[in-house]
């Protein structure tokens, strides 16, 4: 009886305040679409950037006089740093093969000898793949005897880092703005619902109704708005994903992606509605009591 009473109150209130309720639902829906898309784009970017970084190779060129034995010794020394994921010694011959593959000419044909130095290719552990450590690594390794030069694509690394940061910061800014807007609209709807029923709330208090019983209909109202907004947003997002997958042959999404879209979008919607209305309703209900 108690729960059916609360539920009836909730539905009644949703219907009664249908204009602001619709505005809240639309805001939640649109905000969720932006939020989830932003999240997906950031994640995709982040993954790609990480892949790029992961595949970044630091090349340690030895002095021309040094041979593979020196390279082996140096490689062992570098491995002791504990920051290296993979290390490989590229002999003069292998370097020549690579040269031929890349430039289509045999280096012996051009120069009659092989001037390519022995090289150590280093792949750092992911957590050390940032410009600060790379610069330190370069300086330190170049100081070792037998090393001619350490080379990595520092322009690329720095660019990747700037992009990642920009995405992160703009994501956070958009997130804050959206949460703020949703909070404002849902709060306003709850306020209207509570004030429309201030007489009823005052009466329930005189009858000795507990806090939860008085507030629950409005909290549920927020959660339902979140649910409906979430369903709308999830539908929109899924249509958009299907459209993208159909338009670009290279892009396809697994069924798991669609499933997660449903679950995540709707549960985020419900949670937002629940928390915002729970936070708001106490405030407005309390005001009514003070006036009574």
């Amino acid at each position: 009886m108690k729960s059916s009473f609360v539920l009836r109150q909730t539905l009644n209130s949703l219907w009664r305040e249908r204009t602001p309720v619709t505005a809240s639902i639309l805001t939640i829906g649109i905000a969720l679409i932006i939020l989830i898309s932003l999240f997906e784009v950031s994640m995709a970017l982040y993954r790609n950037l990480n892949d790029l970084k992961q595949n970044m190779v630091v090349e340690v060129y030895l002095e021309p006089s040094r041979g593979e034995a020196d390279a082996g010794r140096l490689a062992a020394q570098l491995e002791n740093y504990g920051t290296i994921e993979r290390i490989r010694v590229v002999s003069k011959d292998v370097a020549a093969e690579i040269f031929e593959k890349e430039f289509g000419e045999n280096i012996y044909d051009i120069l009659k000898e092989n001037p390519l130095p022995v090289t150590i290719e280093v792949r750092l552990l992911p957590e050390y793949n940032h410009s600060d450590y790379l610069a330190l690594f370069k300086k330190q390794v170049e100081a070792l005897s037998g090393v001619d030069e350490v080379h990595y694509r520092h322009v690329l690394v720095e660019k990747l880092e700037t992009i990642t940061q920009a995405v992160l910061i703009s994501g956070i800014v958009v997130l804050i703005v959206l949460v703020f807007a949703m909070n404002l609209l849902i709060r306003n709807t709850i306020k209207l619902s509570v004030y429309a029923r201030r007489e009823q709330i005052a009466i329930m208090k005189i009858l000795g109704a507990g806090n939860l019983f008085v507030r629950l209909p409005y909290i549920l109202e927020g959660a339902l708005e979140g649910l409906i907004g979430g369903i709308m947003a999830a539908t929109g997002l899924i249509i958009a994903h299907k459209f993208i997958a159909d338009s670009f042959a290279a892009v396809h999404f697994s069924p798991m992606v669609y499933k997660m879209l449903w679950i995540n979008t709707i549960s985020v919607g419900i949670l937002i509605g629940l928390f915002v209305s729970a936070a708001a309703v106490g405030h407005f209900v309390h005001k009514i009591h003070a006036k009574k």
Binding site: M1, E199, I203, I206, G208, G210
Partner: protein
């Protein structure tokens, strides 16, 4: 049963809505609270269901609740044991008559079957069963007050407090409301009723408490018919 000890109420900066009230209400009594407008009747009633708390002194109910030390939770419990009837009915207008009467029982968390039984029996007693499914807003004023009395009785209260329950009603409806309250009183419910309507209560034998300017006046002997206790009460602690 209900005891006021040196109770003073100041509303904000307005002092002396009630001044050092000492009063005791007894189980099973029908008590009338009389006095001119602004004399403090509503204030005294609101103290009992702790809608306001005294600025000084204490109100206690059944030795179980005292305004001197009561939590919001306990106030809710207290209110579930007191029925209140207002001049303006305070029904929830867009809810059905049945739901209005059922509300205190729903708040208490009783089972639907029990709620239906009790609410229908009460509506029958106040002669409103035929309107059970109508929204409260469709009722006449007299009918609304009967429903409000049924709601006040739903929890078998310690006392029913009625603040000018006939203030908006015509003679016939007023008489009807008084008769209802008298009937519940005969069945054991204590009643405290504030009223302006001397005509309505002039022939009743009940204890009368007179208020003036936030204070209790000595009972007027000529108007006091009935129980002996009334001659002591206004000086009683």
């Amino acid at each position: 049963m209900i005891r006021f000890s040196h109770v003073t109420v100041n509303y904000g900066y307005v002092p002396g809505a009630l001044k050092d009230i000492n009063l005791q209400l007894h189980k099973g009594d029908f008590t009338l609270l009389l006095g001119p407008t602004g004399s403090g009747k509503s204030t005294l009633l609101r103290l009992i269901y702790m809608d306001i708390l005294p600025s000084a002194g204490a109100v206690s109910v059944e030795d179980r609740w005292s305004s001197a030390r009561i939590s919001p939770r306990q106030i809710n419990l207290l209110r579930r044991n007191i029925g209140v009837v207002f001049q303006d009915f305070r029904l929830i207008e867009n809810m059905s008559v049945f739901d209005n009467v059922a509300l205190p029982l729903v708040i208490e968390g009783y089972r639907s079957k029990y709620i239906r039984q009790v609410a229908r029996a009460l509506l029958d007693e106040v002669n409103m069963l035929q309107a059970a499914d109508q929204p409260a807003s469709t009722l006449s004023l007299g009918e609304k007050q009967r429903v409000a009395i049924a709601r006040a009785m739903a929890k078998n209260p310690i006392i029913v407090i009625a603040d000018e329950p006939t203030g908006n009603l015509d003679r016939e409806a007023s008489q009807n409301v008084l008769s209802l309250l008298e009937r519940f009183n005969r069945n054991g419910t204590s009643i405290l009723m504030a009223t302006h309507d001397y005509e309505l209560i002039k022939d009743t034998p009940y204890r009368r408490i007179y208020m003036e300017n936030g204070e209790l006046r000595q009972p007027d002997r000529t108007m006091n018919v009935g129980k002996e206790r009334i001659f002591k009460t206004s000086t009683e602690e």
